[in-house]
């Protein structure tokens, strides 16, 4: 695993914008071609194996939490439990998730967290970095079959979806009225359309509730049979329509059981169930348990908010609005340092299998919403 400096394409801004990535630059560049990461085939295979292994273990954690009713430790409210158990038993579609891994190319990848409910950076990892590879290193390879696997997955579930359109099932894709979230939802919708599904986008605020029919519907009052929502479950259940989720017949993607996996509380439960596992870091609820170097993470947080990194040399805290539900303590991960740049591997699950990786690099320990996305290749 190497970080290699590179000359960006002269017209990279217009190239990535033409493919939908219009948020490539914030206060600093987000999409960055100044450098890329080069892996060996063995390293890519290691990442793929670790991702599949961790996904399997995480599913065991979901079963365990449900069986042992450990919801209180995760601060999941009682009224959400029927949603979780029903979705786990009914097995509605589960399209995607992203593990964040610490990996140095030598020692086993370590799981930092599992963004299983509302992962973003999808267009970048699936399309933009692939375009970069074709333009800059057409002879090299990339761990990236995300687009194909998404289309394949939608196709595989078409027969199971309720249909209410003239051409069969319509899948609605809802997100905040925000550029990045909206385009991510649009990209997913495009993969579904390529599989043959009818798709519609809408804003979360446009979701309607018909009290007579006891159904959710869109802006045109079309019933929502299948709803992909780029919106976290822990917010959905606390909003005014939250109670309707138990009544409406809408199939929601990602399913409610993802509420368990997107909660940092799975980290100590994973460590408790699989102590010493090579892809896990020691993690505990409530206190560091004697660890000298650790990261304190809110049970529920997004984009690295309210994370505290405690090392022998420094104590760094990120800001945010999270943490009211409590924290977990995870041993500090061996994230490599490439001249001050610290990469975290985002390893994607599509359906039930590993499908590709993206690299986000930061100047510090915490990967936040301003961390750069760097492309990768392997030979």
């Amino acid at each position: 695993m190497e970080r290699i400096t590179s000359t960006p394409r002269a017209d990279w801004q217009s190239v990535v914008e033409a493919r939908g990535l219009k948020w490539h630059t914030g206060q600093t560049p987000y999409w960055s071609e100044d450098a890329y990461y080069r892996f060996t085939t063995d390293q890519i295979e290691t990442l793929e194996r670790a991702t599949n292994e961790l996904h399997e273990r995480c599913l065991e954690v979901v079963q365990h939490v449900i069986d042992e009713k450990r919801y209180a430790e995760l601060k999941i409210p009682e009224h959400a439990v029927p949603l979780i158990t029903k979705s786990w038993n009914d097995e509605p579609p589960s399209v995607y998730g992203r593990f964040d891994l610490a990996y140095d190319g030598k020692t086993p990848p370590k799981m930092l967290e599992y963004n299983a409910d509302t992962p973003t950076s999808l267009l970048e990892v699936s399309v933009i970095q692939w375009d970069w590879l074709q333009a800059m290193h057409p002879g090299a390879d990339q761990f990236n079959s995300i687009h194909e696997k998404l289309v394949e997955y939608w196709r595989s579930i078409m027969g199971d979806l309720e249909g209410n359109g003239p051409l069969g099932p319509i899948v609605h894709f809802a997100s905040l009225d925000d550029l990045e979230d909206g385009m991510t939802a649009a990209y997913l919708a495009e993969t579904a359309a390529q599989a043959g599904l009818q798709v519609k986008l809408l804003a979360m605020t446009d979701i309607g509730w018909d009290p007579r029919a006891r159904e959710m519907c869109d802006r045109e009052d079309v019933r929502l049979d299948t709803l992909f929502k780029l919106y976290p479950w822990e917010w959905l259940i606390h909003e005014p329509f939250g109670d309707h989720l138990r009544v409406a017949k809408t199939t929601i993607i990602e399913p409610a059981w993802k509420m368990i996996l997107s909660n940092k509380g799975i980290l100590p439960i994973l460590w408790e169930m699989f102590p010493g596992h090579g892809n896990l870091l020691p993690s505990y609820f409530d206190e560091p348990h004697g660890m000298f170097e650790y990261v304190k993470k809110p049970l529920l947080s997004r984009e690295g908010a309210n994370v505290t990194v405690h090392t022998m040399k420094e104590h760094v805290e990120s800001t945010g609005e999270y943490g009211a539900e409590g924290y977990v303590f995870q041993e500090l991960a061996p994230i490599p340092d490439f001249d001050g740049k610290r990469p975290v591997i985002g390893s994607w699950i599509i359906g039930q299998e590993a499908a590709g990786i993206g690299v986000r690099e930061s100047d510090g320990w915490v990967t936040g919403n301003t961390s750069r996305f760097a492309p990768h290749l392997f030979r």
């Binding site: 914008e17 033409a18 493919r19 939908g20 219009k22 890519i44 295979e45 793929e48 509302t118 973003t120 950076s121 399309v127 692939w130 375009d131 074709q134 057409p138 761990f143 990236n144 079959s145 194909e148 003239p166 051409l167 894709f173 809802a174 905040l176 009225d177 925000d178 550029l179 990045e180 979230d181 909206g182 385009m183 990209y187 919708a189 495009e190 798709v199 519609k200 986008l201 804003a203 979360m204 605020t205 979701i207 309607g208 509730w209 018909d210 009290p211 007579r212 519907c217 802006r219 009052d221 780029l230 919106y231 976290p232 606390h238 909003e239 005014p240 329509f241 309707h244 997004r302 984009e303």
Partner: protein, 128 residues
């Protein structure tokens, strides 16, 4: 390892089309897909002609931007070939492609909105 290498291009139509119509501000895309009148299964010649010319169509009173890369005849021939091969067509009323389509339920709707999105709206993004 599962297959990694793939085709040399990822075909996208919808996302670039949306990117072309949305700015760099906070507002996200509002349009996606109604029922395309040029699809052989619901082909509507008049609506398809207009849709190709305008690069989009009204469906149920809502405008849907759509990229038609080929001339009208291409879609018409696609429809003809589909019918010749035994495909069935479920024609929608032309009115549904009208800009002023009001819909059969207009005025009777009891639907309430705004029950989702408030927490995310105050925080600005919902991805992770």
């Amino acid at each position: 390892m599962s297959s990694i290498k793939r085709s040399s291009a990822v075909p996208l139509v919808l996302v670039p089309a949306l990117a072309a119509v949305v700015g760099c501000g906070p507002s996200g895309p509002q349009v996606v897909s109604g029922v395309d009148p040029c699809l052989p299964q619901v082909y509507n010649e008049a609506a398809c002609t207009v849709a190709v010319r305008q690069q989009g169509y009204y469906y149920g009173g809502t405008w849907y931007h759509h990229v038609y890369a080929m001339p009208f005849l291409y879609y018409h021939n696609g429809y003809s070939g589909y019918v010749r091969s035994g495909g069935s067509v479920r024609a929608l009323s032309s009115g549904v492609y009208s800009r002023n389509y009001a819909g059969p339920a207009l005025g009777r709707s009891t639907v309430v909105r705004g029950g989702f999105g408030s927490i995310g709206g105050s925080r600005g993004f919902s991805g992770s």
